[in-house]
């Protein structure tokens, strides 16, 4: 009934200010920043490695939580009403080959220096697209997934032009390791896909589950088995994963479980597109006058790539603040520039 609008800060598109900015990544941080900048009159170009806007909002979080259509419409509104230009299937990178979920779609590569040449400023909102690994033997067996490796194809396979296949968990035994929101999303997706038996394995107790007691209780109501204070030790198998070995609490006895799928949902790590050139950990450490600006002038950063995996709302706030800071920097920079050139002129006259 009320459509989503990332350019919620202005009543109508403002007159253009003649400046161009680039946003890398179209997740919640990138889209909010694009909306902020569009409301300030910028010509905004948004780059994304995927064929659709939304980032993890669309490709990570299942559609029954966040309706993909609503995000799609909101991105469309940015384009139609505010002239925001999306460049999909385009990855911004350096010569370093970085692999993470979603790279299957990349058709074009653009370098940061090309962007800096074309745009007054650049905002990096590349999120957290690599999942943390279990670091146990057998982790590379077929049938062992990270939460993103599992969830991403479920959404991506719906795009007509792809050859990505969704994991076939129907009638299978699924073990999910972790008890955060992405673990819950994996379990719920598996339930919908008709998995035979689903077990959640968590290193602490239900009270400490990051997703909250209630989510776990609801899943147990739906027949999910819950094993707490458990540590996965080894995964056995040949062609396909077969057994998961784990220990529980202080019990010295090792336990085994028959499995067809092991999905580890133990968190994601930020995906910095320029790991060699840019240490995102350093942002905000030095006394930079400009909030969320990196050591490169005019390159800003926002969202999960800066803060680590967080909530959608925090990414939005981070995107808005970075856009505001970027706008301040551009204005100050142009003022300095104008002053310098007038000073130069005076000198030459003298």
């Amino acid at each position: 009934m009320n459509a989503m609008n990332y350019a919620f800060l202005c009543a109508a598109p403002p007159p253009p200010n003649g400046l161009k900015t680039a946003v890398i990544g179209s997740g919640p941080a990138g889209l909010s920043a694009a909306g902020w900048l569009a409301c300030a009159g910028y010509e905004v170009h948004v780059y994304d490695k995927l064929p659709k806007a939304g980032g993890l909002l669309v490709f990570g979080i299942p559609g029954f939580r966040v309706p993909a259509r609503r995000i799609d419409d909101a991105a469309q509104k940015l384009t139609n009403d505010y002239g925001v230009r999306f460049h999909f299937c385009t990855k911004i990178c350096t010569q370093d080959k970085v692999c993470e979920s979603g790279d299957e779609f990349v058709q074009e590569m653009v370098s940061l220096s090309e962007l800096l040449h074309e745009f007054a400023a650049v905002l990096i909102c590349t999120g957290s697209w690599r999942s943390r690994k279990l670091n146990i033997p057998g982790e590379n067996l077929p049938g062992v997934y990270t939460s993103l490796e599992f969830l991403f194809p479920l959404r991506a396979c719906k795009l007509a032009q792809t050859r990505i296949a969704a994991p076939q968990v129907e009638g299978k035994n699924v073990v999910v390791i972790g008890a955060g929101l992405s673990a819950v999303d994996v379990v719920q997706s598996s339930l919908r896909l008709g998995a035979r038996r689903i077990t959640m394995l968590y290193r602490r107790t239900m009270d400490e589950a990051p997703a909250g007691r209630m989510e776990i209780k609801l899943l147990r109501q739906r027949g999910v088995h819950w094993v707490e204070r458990a540590t996965p030790l080894r995964i056995h198998g040949g062609e396909q994963v077969q057994k998961l070995v784990y220990s529980q609490a202080n019990d010295p006895e090792k336990k085994e479980m028959d499995v067809d799928f092991v999905i580890s949902a133990i968190g994601e790590v930020p995906t910095n597109p320029f790991p060699r050139e840019l240490r995102i950990e350093d942002v905000g450490q030095e006394d930079s006058k400009w909030l969320q600006m990196t050591k490169f002038d005019g390159v800003f950063v926002a969202g999960d790539v800066l803060t680590g995996p967080s909530k959608i709302g925090r990414a939005i706030l981070s995107g808005l603040k970075a856009a505001e800071s970027l706008d301040g920097w551009i204005k100050a920079h142009r003022l300095d520039h104008a002053r310098e050139s007038t000073a130069g002129q005076e000198e030459s006259h003298g």
């Binding site: 009934m1 009320n2 459509a3 989503m4 609008n5 990332y6 919620f8 009543a11 919640p28 909010s32 909002l57 979080i61 029954f64 939580r65 966040v66 309706p67 609503r70 995000i71 719920q188 339930l191 919908r192 589950a209 997703a211 909250g212 007691r213 209630m214 989510e215 209780k217 147990r220 109501q221 739906r222 027949g223 088995h225 909530k311 959608i312 709302g313 925090r314 939005i316 706030l317 808005l320 603040k321």
Partner: protein, 195 residues
């Protein structure tokens, strides 16, 4: 009730607790007026003013600092407020906030009065990724909610395998109906025993 009454309604069946509403509210007003609150069971829900037709805060206020605007929004005049907090104690939704950082001691949702004056919607409504925050006339909100329930009932009938025997009842609870309920008697016994 104001003739052109409009109000905010949070559909908790669709809310995923993502904090987007609180984030934009805080960005706009310095201190958010919609509050994400975590229950003892670990579910996070936004708490905000319901803009009641018969507001308890308005009646209880010692200095008559509350009024209803021509769209029925319950507004606190911060200049008149003395910060006694009696409004918070009578509010059934604990929707009034004490603001230590702001210029005035008490703040509450005014349905983005400044934005509405420019023909814009409340910001939280526009940023919610789930469509869980509705804004409109009570009739519009009622129609939208009824629509959502109807969708749930139809889905439940189309996919009985997901919903089991408890179709009608489950469909009324949209979160469950959208989700589906894998009702397998064997797997439920564990849970029932726990209860």
């Amino acid at each position: 009730m104001a003739e052109n009454k409009k109000t905010l309604y949070i559909d908790y069946n669709l809310c995923i607790g993502c904090e987007s509403c609180e984030a934009v509210c805080g960005y706009l007003y310095g201190h958010p007026r919609i509050h994400m609150t975590r229950t003892s069971d670990g579910i996070t829900v936004p708490i905000s003013c319901h803009h009641c037709a018969n507001p308890a805060c308005l009646k209880a206020c010692n200095v008559n600092a509350f009024y209803q605007d021509d769209e029925g929004a319950v507004i606190l005049d911060p200049k008149a407020c003395v910060g006694c907090m009696v409004c918070l104690s009578v509010c059934p939704f604990a929707a009034i906030s004490h603001s230590r950082s702001g210029p005035y001691p008490v703040a509450k949702c005014d349905l983005c009065a400044e934005r509405r004056a420019k023909g814009m919607l409340p910001a939280c409504v526009e940023i919610c990724p789930c469509g869980a925050i509705l804004y409109g006339s009570p009739e519009d909100i009622e129609a939208e909610l009824r629509q959502r329930v109807a969708e749930g009932i139809v889905q439940a009938h189309m996919h009985p395998e997901r919903f089991g025997a408890e179709v009608g009842l489950r469909a009324m609870k949209k979160s469950l109906s959208v989700e589906g309920f894998a009702v397998d008697p064997a797997s439920r016994s564990e849970f029932d025993a726990e209860r």
